[in-house]
Structures are given as C-alpha cells and as structure tokens.
Amino acid sequence: MWQIIHKMGSPPWFYRFAGTVLRWALPIVLLLLVVGAVWGLLFAPPDFRQGNSYRIIFIHVPASVVALAGYYVMAFAGAVSLIWKIKMADTAMRAVAPVGAALTFIALVTGAVWGKPTWGTWWVWDARITSMLILFFLYVGVMALFEAYENKAAAAKACAVLSLVGTVNIPIIYKSVDWWYSLHQPASIKFSGASAIDSSMLYPLLLMIVAFYGLFACCVMLNMRAELLDTHRGASWLQRALLERD
C-alpha cells in the first residue's frame, strides 16, 4: 500500500492514473447522481410532516457531509505536505479547496431554500447552519490566503498551517454553537433525527451520499490534473502523455 502512496507523489504517474480512473469513474458518478436525484425527486414518498419540501434533503445532507469531510481531507493533505514535503500533497490540498467551498455553498443555499416552506424563514440560526457558514469562511480563507502570497511555495505552506488550525477548531465551533443555541431555540425547529427516517427515503439518501463522495474524488482529480498540466508545461513526460492520447 505504501508503494501506491509513494507512486502518487510522482506527477507523471498520478497524471496517468487519474486519467485512467476518471475515464470510467466520472460517467458512473454522474449517472449515480442523476439516478439518485430522480429517485429522490419523483419516487420517494412525500414526508408525513414536511410534504414534498423534504426532498431537498437528498442534496443538502450529502453536500454537507462531503463538504465537512473535504475540509479534513484538505487539512490532511496539508499536513502530509508540511511533514514529508511532498509537492503532490500541496496540489491535492489546493485541488480540494474550491470543491469543498462549492459543496458548502450548495449546502447553505439548499438549507435556506428548504427552510422557507418548512419553517417559514429563509434562514434559521441553528448550530448546523451556523457551523456550515463558518466552514464556508474557513474554505474561502484558505483560498484567499493562497492568492495573497506571491511566493507560491510559501503560500502552500501557509494554507497547510491554516487548514490544520481550522481542523482543530471545527468540532469546537460546532459544539459551542450547539450548546449556545440549544439554550435559546425552541425544539420544534430542530430537524428530527435521522434515526426516524424511513427506508424508502434512506436508500436514495445513501445513494446520493455515495455519489457526492464520488463526485468529490473526481473533481479533486480533475483539478489536480489541470494543475499538473499548468505547472509542468515544458516537461517531456507530459508532452508524451498528451501525444499518446492523440
């Protein structure tokens, strides 16, 4: 297994590997997304309490879950880059940031849109939404920090440090806001626990979660390949790879 990780550190190997994987993985992931969406939209039964607006859950929950997991992936890549000084880990970390930010954005907007017909307001300050909003700022912060540095090698290190600091904070932020709001929020606004979810709704939800994870992986690989193309323009291995494809 270590061999694979060692190989991934090599740009030519990773470029080819990602290319091969993406060729079949991306269409499959897109298919899963469509199947899951159609299932959730048209075939899952309406909710007893919320009617049809709950169908947004099939996007909101997967996006939130993957957005949060993505931040840890980004921080892990940053840590690998700092400790072992592997440049590909830098590339990975930077590839995750925009994907995570986009997913967080989706989670926030779908959460708001879900809130309006369900609870009457576009925005409800509860622990999860607030933590999601902060997660968005954490992602944007990493991206902004990278842009602000002129020396890109230093920029990558700075982003790694920032991601790690954010990682430590995320559980604290969530817990603190949760305690704070639970003192002030009527319980009716809280989303009734997933343990009560019916299997006819659970399956499409699980499918969508898997699909979103797959999409995350594909987008990160796509970003990394695009980045490698940019930084290794003159490299002979790259020219050969491109010529082979043609």
Partner: protein, 227 residues
C-alpha cells in the same frame, strides 16, 4: 526551562511592553474604539434599558472581538519590517516561546486594559451589576485566547501587503467558540444561572491555546519570513 531562556523571554516581554507603552496611542486607541462602538449600540438599538440589558453580553463581547481584530494586525508588523523578527527566528531560543512572550505582552496591553475598563461599558449598557465580575473574568480569559488566535492570523499574514482584511477573514471563524463561551458566561451571570461551566470552557480553550497556538504562530512566522 533553562534560566537563560527564561531571562530571554522575560526580556522580550519587557521590551514589547516598553515599546507598547511608549506609544500610548497603541494602548488607548483600541480602548477608545471600544468606547465609541459601545456608544453606538444604544443609539442604534434604542435606549430601552431592558433591551440593552438583554443584549449587553453579546454587544460587549462582539466589540471586544472587533477591537482585538484591529490590533492583531500590528502584532508582528514592526518587528517584521525592521528585521528583528528574522533575528529572533534565527536565534537559538525556540521561536514558539518567543512568539508566546510577545503575545502575552500584547495581551497585557490590550486584553487586560479592556477587562479593567469593562465595568464602565457594562454600566453604559445596563448590564446587571452582579454580572460584572463574571464579565471581567470572561474578558480576561477570553481576550487571552483572542490574542493567541489573532497572533496565528497575524503570523500568517504579516508579509502580505494590506493583509488586515485577509486577517479578519481568517480568524473570525476561529473566534466564534470564544465568543460563544464568553457571552454565555456573562448571560448566565446576568440571569442568576451558572456561569462557571462557561468560564471553565474559556479556561480550557485558553489552556489548549497556550500549548498549540505558539506552534502555529512560529510556523506562520517562518513561512512569512521565507516568502
């Protein structure tokens, strides 16, 4: 800790304090900022005393946060510009501890003075008198954590031109738990509840911070110096 390291750190701290106090503006300006912003709230929200009392913990804490934000940007700037930061990084003493001593000095000048002035603002916002000791305790503990977090951001952005706005973007998310714990403590005290739980959390955050933050600060400083 070896005696010469301790002496070095103590000397560092005293130097920072001396520099800070030689320019009284550096200490007074954040305080004045605090006063003026606190004054804005009764004007903006209306003078209804019950409403102000209800909102006072939140207002006081948010403004404390903002005032820490404004001074954090300058924490390492002067040393970075005149090259002394580079010297400190190359010295044999651990940069993390040196940075911590600077943060402590900075806290003494900003957070502690804020804490001492806070009863005045509490009265301006009609905070119940029984909550004032807890307010001061929460500000004392919390402002230390704020300084630590602010220093992390300052270390990462010190080399960036006009890094102030970026600094705010970076550390505001990290401020949130401190804000929550602080406001909850004061709120509980005002409503004759149990603030100790929240003060304990503030203490825990500060304790964790004092161990972990200097590492991040030193890493950030080295990165900024290298760039």
């Amino acid at each position: 800790m070896p005696p010469d390291l301790w002496q070095f750190l103590w000397g560092q701290m005293r130097r920072q304090l001396r520099v800070g106090m030689s320019k009284p503006g550096e200490v007074l300006n954040p305080l004045l900022f605090f006063v003026m912003v606190v004054t804005l709230f009764p004007i903006g929200l209306g003078p209804n005393p019950e409403r102000l009392a209800l909102l006072a913990p939140g207002i006081l804490w948010v403004v404390a946060l903002l005032s820490n934000l404004t001074v954090s940007g300058r924490l390492f700037a002067a040393d970075f510009e005149d090259g002394s930061l580079e010297q400190l990084a190359l010295a044999s003493h651990p940069l993390a501890l040196t940075a911590l001593s600077q943060v402590v000095a900075h806290w003494l000048l900003s957070g502690v003075t804020l804490t001492l002035a806070s009863p005045l603002f509490a009265v301006m916002l009609n905070l119940p008198v029984q909550a004032i000791p807890v307010l001061m305790a929460s500000l004392l503990l919390g402002s230390f954590s704020l300084s630590l977090v602010g220093a992390i951001g300052a270390a990462l952005t010190v080399g960036i031109r006009r890094g102030g706005l970026l600094l705010s973007l970076l550390i505001i998310p990290l401020y949130v738990p401190i804000l929550v714990f602080g406001v909850s403590a004061v709120s509980e005290a005002a409503n004759v509840g149990d603030p100790m739980r929240w003060l304990a959390l503030l203490g825990a955050f500060a304790a964790g911070g004092i161990v972990l933050a200097p590492l991040a600060i030193a890493a950030g400083l080295r990165i900024s110096l290298d760039s």
